[in-house]
Amino acid sequence: MRKSIFIAFGAGILLVSYFSWDGIFGSKVDYNAEVKPILNKHCIGCHGGVKKAGDVSFLFEEDMLQPGKSGKPAVVRGNAHASEMIRRIETSDPDDRMPKNAEPLAQEDVDILKRWIDQGATWERHWAYKKVDRPELPSLRNLSNLFGLLDLNTSSWPQNAIDYFVLDRLRKEGLSPSEKADKATLIRRVSLDLTGLPPTPQQVADFVADDSDDAYERLVDGLLAAPSFGERWAAMWMDLARYADTKGYEKDGPRNIWRYRDYVVKAFNADKPFDTFTIEQLAGDLLPAESANLPSRENLVATGFHRNTMNNDEGGTVDEEFRVAAQIDRVNTTWEVWTGTTFACVQCHSHPYDPISHEEYYKYMAFFNNTRDEDVPTESPALRIYPSDDSLRVQEVLSWIEGHDAGVKKEFAEFLYVMEPKVNSHDFDSLVNATMIDGKYLGLKQSSSARLKRVTLTGKTSLMLSVSTGAEGPTLQVRTGAVDGPVRAQVRLTKPCRDSVLILPMSPQDGKHDLYFTMTSPKTPDRWVQIKWVSFQQPLPGAQEPGYEQVLRQYVSLVAKRVEEMPILWDGKGDLARKTHVFERGNWLVKGPEVQPGVPGLFPDLPAEAPKNRLGMAQWLVSRNHPLTARVIVNRFWEQIFGYGIVETVEDFGSQGSPPTHQQLLDWLAVSFMEDDGWSVKTLLKRIVLSATYQQSSQTNQEQLEKDPYNYWLSRGPRVRLSAEQVRDQALAISGLLSKKMYGPSVMPPQPDGIWQSPYSGERWLLSEGEDRYRRALYTYWKRTSPYPSMTTFDAPSREFCQSRRIRTNTPLQALVTLNDPVYMEASERLATLMNQKGKTPREQLKEGYQLLTFQPIEEQSLKVLEKVYHQALTAYRKNPAEVDSILVYGATKTPELAALSVSANVMLNLDTVVTKE
């Protein structure tokens, strides 16, 4: 192989080339670098995971060695001449020639394939699927050094391991690092990167004045410890979690899931190790019980990650269809977020390019498919958050149970906190005179019945159900076996009720039975009785004891009580455990063979000690042997800092993704993340921002633009536009408006009228009051069908699905937001007030304003431009004083001077240096 090394040396460029011995004697073909791209481009479309034309496929190693329809194997190892593949590529018969109906392969591609087969057709794993090992740091004493050409400046450049890899690459590309950014630029950059907020003027002054060696490191430590750190990184995680405050689909009604967002903020702030963070979000409900026989509240709240899937409340929709859609989204999202693998395609057929089979998709889905959420409007199962007095009453009930039969306490605790197990009433069938009211819940009336199939009744002598009705005195009977079978339970509803909870004794019976719910309601035959859910339970223990009646009442009233609920993951057991089938061609109505939970064969097995469930799967993801997770996660954080990932396609590490620009660096970071840092995100980020690579100036020169226009090789510091959240937060922070309040339900800052017009729902954008109008963008209420307009203008996704990469655009609509949105006008006026306080003359005031925004002294020529626009405005406002009152609406001072300053502040808030991280 021919390698070239470019070394920058003074003004000229010296080219040093050398040939390896391999290169001279016909090198070994690199499967991943040379062969796989040819197969992906020309062959695998028809001979891969989607189609297997002529029974030939190049997806799996064993496939290509099998005889195809013609009886001849595509590839005969060691003999290109005998390989059908080569014959078909080289034949001149147009009917036979491959690729079919396309240009013939280039001769050099054919040569590569032939040499590859002759050399034994070695199949190699794609780099990202190989276990990650710690690479050696590149030596700075390499070939170029022997020639005595080492640039003396760069030999002392590296600050940490990152820089060795970067420098090695820069040299190969004939580039050298840029000088260090000035201190003010650096503190602004690192503050925005780590906390999403600009520094305060005081922080900047302190840092600039601090000459000690560890000044920068101490600054970084301070930023990592700031509460705003968690908010900044939660903002990134929210896109991955597709977090929203509404359920999506047509109704897009509200969803109470902000506690999950707060969990993420706290997890980042506490530097919760990323492996734990992963396990809690994917399987917190399966972690060992803590208090009250349940996993900790924190662990349950963490599972909100996968309850951010959409829920369809529209009448008449088939719940099962949307339940399945949510499961599929969980599978696809998990693969995208943690393993950078495009998995959605495997839903319908084997992966088109990477060796993952169709069946493996559903084996993997089986890990998730057992959760109890079924697209019902209540979004159950949900964690019930009792106010403190009710919490005490819950404890009273539980201690009663513990005192009488400790063995059943867990079951009751689970029902009180999660209301599972219960059967949603959409499971009823054989409806006679009965209906699904609004397509959602069972409705019974006079002479009606409905069946619940195959219910295990052993030990379950207590029936709990949720009913609503306006009917007068209807009687509900529950029978086994048939509509006229023996009555097991019955109740007469004496009063109209809404979402009331009843508990009825059932006569004991063992085994599985069909249950028929029948109703007689002669007084009001047309009035419905709605049943939302039913639950078969053990009897509350201690029936003979004094006080039993009261405890039973307390139990039922707690279950019936409306308290805050947050959707969580919760597995079904017994009758409610679910089987998973392959869906033929991805169609949920066409079920193929049943599958057991498992991970694709391309990856290592579940760890030996891991359970074969969601928890085991989560542990597998963060096991040392998993080749992808650490690489993908490290790359995500890198992308946030540098603007591009080391693998630019952060969402796709497969053979169709971008190749890494610095694979060894990525691997090195991934291994240290796992082995040295115990998955500490703060340590990882600290390492990145302490590197000399990160601290480079972001100024560009012509040579860099030519050789490295997108800064792939990192010859300069990152320079990218701020994210949607940062643009807003910065304007509020600098103008002194930003609220430091953390956590809690999402808020509704001002947005133009008429943005929300949901059919059928009475929800309104209720303008938040006081400091809630100025909270960080992270806390803005997120409605999926109508997200906050300025956020989407700055490239935020709608969060219907996980979208790992925000594609940065630069549009006039963005300009209109920062020019005209009242949020920015208010910030302008506040900033003008600050400028007014800080400077005496307009010139001073403008200088101060620029300094407040960028922490840099303004250049004289830019100041002249600002002065000009200031005086133009001042003249206009003096001429037309009424306009002063129009522009200055937030403060008490109303002078033409302040109005002109406000206009100047508006100009400054729109400057490139302000909306860009430099």
Partner: protein, 488 residues
């Protein structure tokens, strides 16, 4: 290949206007982008550059622009265009069992009764198209239209059916037809977005903004909703106290300082920003201008039935014509309130539907006439339809008799019509059975309709794809056949 396309697209979006700016300003860093979005060029010469650089259509388009009129809620084909004399006879008779077996409806339960057409039908024009007295203004246009009477869909709820109609998939997350058009063809006007959405009827369509969203395409391709109240485009108006002159001064100042920054740091992204601010300033002029109908002659406003100071479907039709005239690529109109179940005085196929038609019939007819008059109909495609049809049976929600005449959602038969842009004139494609329940001839699925619209715009729907999550997605998913017989 996927990677390549993705990267190309990524760059293209990032640099949409940098290219133009560089070229015009002679920086000479080379052409990097492909198409254009909110119009990135401002001279006649660069228009060619766009066409040359855009996604080259697969074949010559007959529709350069599209106006898609969607009656959200789904109008009843049986009252308007699909005349079923047999249904008159069966009015009030129990629905035959074979219509109900294995079928699921949104609200109908048990055995509903058939419901005869509520409109009075006649034939019009040389083509002899059947139309009812609900749409009198359309009668004169019979010979300009192509009816597709055998439409069918897979979704019987509004939001999924609207999503299917506009994004090719029933779930959220896919790009809309207009976004595909903007992605494929770019804008021909540098002062206006390429894909504009106007809504009326008091509410947004059920599926919300997702039906004009960009899905997994970059966000710049999403439809820009122009509003007839408040700012026509969000934040396009100058704030109170900032005059036009002052805004001009401020943008000049911003750009001047940004230019100085560019000299220093050499980041080409700054050049893009400069041109985007120029464009924003032009949009501030052009959007309110195009959205202002006060300068239209009175007779034109009368023709549409536009009332001064009132947002309405009629106004949106007139605006659609103005936008098309200004080379906006895709104009999407949604009118809410067509869901004639029979639950209220507004929501039925009698008086309620009559009222919706009274609001919309005249403006739609005026729009077609107006486009014709200006010679724009030739290369502008107008599409009219809902997200599904309505049942020949009367709705009996929860098994009860409804207070008004209504029909339930129906996915097996509905009517869409098209005009201009390369479709036949005075033509009817497809046919439903005697009761209007099911298409019996030349059935057209939603994906077929989409394939056909893309075809008219010059794209082969099977080759017009975008890679996402490892798959090459297209508007028509894995289905769709062009309805060749309606092509002129």
């Amino acid at each position: 290949m996927e990677k390549l396309i993705k990267e190309l697209e990524y760059r293209r979006v990032e640099q949409q206007t940098r290219r133009h700016f560089l070229r015009n300003c002679g920086f000479g860093l080379g052409a990097l982008g492909l198409g254009s979005l909110l119009g990135s060029c401002d001279s006649g010469a660069s228009k060619t550059a766009q066409v040359a650089g855009g996604k080259v259509p697969h074949f010559r388009p007959t529709a350069k622009r599209v106006i898609y009129i969607h009656m959200a809620g789904a109008p009843s084909q049986l009252e308007l265009f699909d005349y079923k004399p047999e249904l008159v006879k069966y009015d009030g008779v129990d629905c035959p069992a074979e219509f109900l077996e294995g079928k699921k409806f949104a609200f109908i339960q048990g055995v509903p009764k058939m419901l005869g057409p509520q409109g009075k039908f006649k034939q019009f024009g040389e083509s002899g198209a059947w139309m009812s007295d609900y749409v009198p203004y359309m009668h004169d246009l019979a010979d300009d239209l192509t009816f597709i009477k055998s439409m069918h869909t897979d979704q019987f709820n509004h939001a999924p059916a609207q999503l299917l109609m506009h994004t090719g998939g029933a779930r959220l997350g896919r790009p809309s037809l207009g976004a595909w058009a903007a992605y494929g063809l770019g804008s021909e006007n540098n002062n206006l977005p390429g894909f504009i959405v106007l809504t009326s009827g008091g509410k947004q369509p059920d599926a919300g903004k997702s039906i004009w969203g960009s899905g997994f395409l970059p966000s710049v391709y999403q439809g820009v909703q122009c509003r007839t109240g408040g700012d026509p485009v969000l934040y396009v108006s100058d704030p109170n106290g900032i005059s036009r002159d002052m805004r001009k001064n401020t943008i000049e100042a911003i750009n001047e300082i940004n230019r100085q920054t560019y000299e220093q740091v050499q980041d080409p992204e700054i050049l893009t920003r400069i041109s985007q601010y120029e464009m924003a300033f032009r949009m501030q002029m052009s959007v309110p201008e195009v959205m202002d109908v006060s300068k239209e002659p009175q007779y034109i406003r009368d023709m549409y039935g536009v009332k001064p100071g009132e947002g309405s479907f009629a106004l949106n039709c007139l605006l659609a014509r103005k936008l098309i005239e200004n080379d906006v690529r895709f104009v999407q109109l949604f009118d809410w309130g067509w869901d004639g179940h029979g639950t209220s005085a507004a929501d039925n196929v009698g008086g309620g539907l009559h009222e919706k038609c009274r609001q919309t019939d005249q403006p739609v007819a005026a729009l077609l006439q107006d486009l014709k008059m200006r010679g724009l109909l030739e290369d502008t495609l107008v599409v009219w339809g809902g997200e599904f049809g309505r049942t020949p049976m009367q709705e009996n929600r929860n098994g009860l008799v409804m207070p008004y005449m209504g029909r339930d959602h129906h996915l097996d038969a509905f009517t869409v019509w098209m005009a201009g842009g390369g479709v036949k004139k005075g033509f009817t494609h497809g046919e439903t059975d005697e009761l209007g329940y099911y298409g019996v001839k030349d059935r057209v699925h939603v994906h077929d309709l989409q394939a056909t619209i893309l075809h008219l715009m010059g794209f082969d729907h099977e080759r017009f794809t975008y890679p996402f999550q490892g798959r090459n997605f297209r508007l028509t998913d894995t289905e769709g056949k062009v309805v060749k017989s309606i092509l002129a």
